[in-house]
Symmetry: C2
Subunit: 151 residues, 2 copies
DNA sequence: ATAGAACCTCAACATAGATTGAGGTCAAGT
DNA sequence: ACTTGACCTCAATCTATGTTGAGGTTCTAT
């Protein structure tokens, strides 16, 4: 049973509590911490302790992942959150805006791909040099190599 | 310099030619062959030879990958192409239709995610049990198998 | 005081999708 | 014949995103 020391009550969370409340495995939280996506401190007995903030962070991580954003980018985006204080609604909204743009671009890319799929796969134009499907001169095309998310 | 033996002229392609024309690395073609995505035969000197079909196949593979379909699924879809003959336009169209449905679903998912992003990240509802973003009871929820998300 | 749950570290394994390298062979031009 | 570039196989490595397990420690209830 997870019990919280009296002096911590309502203030900090153990890794097991975060796991239970956020729905991710303890091992995943270890992993996220190692990758710099979440931060915490240690108890006198070297156990992980987290502020309640971490629940929101983990929630954001999972949502961002569902949209296809890699962890490294999520980490960078989270790093833009304020250091000393608990992020407020405006802070989170900033993240949301950055990601929405990326999402918009990727939706446009997929939509474009879909619209061209029937026409191009069926026809003879699927050559490296000429086909619009092979040569996405459209969305994201100038981003160098592949879809760069939130660089 | 890549030279084609007279008897092969215009009929078969070496792995290097396929690489040059399709834009993928030789090692990747080895990899695709090992994974069953492309097939060919060997010359008397044990070198890979491919029918011209393979260029179309590789093109399809790259397009499908761009939409987020995993190689294993692409392999299965390509396996539905006719065995003895060169695939015709109708064959390719069949593939296109299968994938378009998947693409439609994923576009719907991302769109939904985007629409909820601002509202949900900024507000206090991002809890495991209550938030619509955390609990996708909507698009894709019953899709069971197949490529669900990129990344 | 002690059992057992929860925690710790570190290393290995898993999957997808390749890339790289070592060591050796084949083929074409001179 | 020789050189060179394209080719061969097989194993190792890489990134991303974790999971699993071994071996050891801490915490809390009884």
């Amino acid at each position: 049973m997870v019990r919280i020391a009296p002096e911590d009550h309502g203030r900090s969370l153990s890794v097991g509590e975060v796991a239970a409340r956020s729905g991710v495995a303890v091992s995943t939280l270890h992993f996220y911490e190692a990758k710099g996506l979440i931060r915490g401190w240690r108890s006198s007995g070297n156990q992980r302790r987290y502020a309640r903030d971490v629940l929101r962070r983990v929630a954001i991580i999972k949502v961002a992942q569902r949209t296809g954003i890699p962890l490294a980018d999520i980490r960078d985006a989270l790093a833009s959150l304020p250091d000393g204080r608990t992020p407020n609604a405006a802070d989170w909204r900033g993240l949301s805006e950055r990601w929405r743009e990326d999402l918009d671009r990727r939706i446009a890319l997929l939509t474009d791909l879909r619209d061209k799929l029937d026409g191009c796969i069926g026809c003879g134009c699927l050559s490296v040099s000429a086909c619009p499907l092979r040569n996405p001169g459209d969305v994201l095309s100038e981003s160098g190599s592949g879809p760069v998310l939130l660089g």
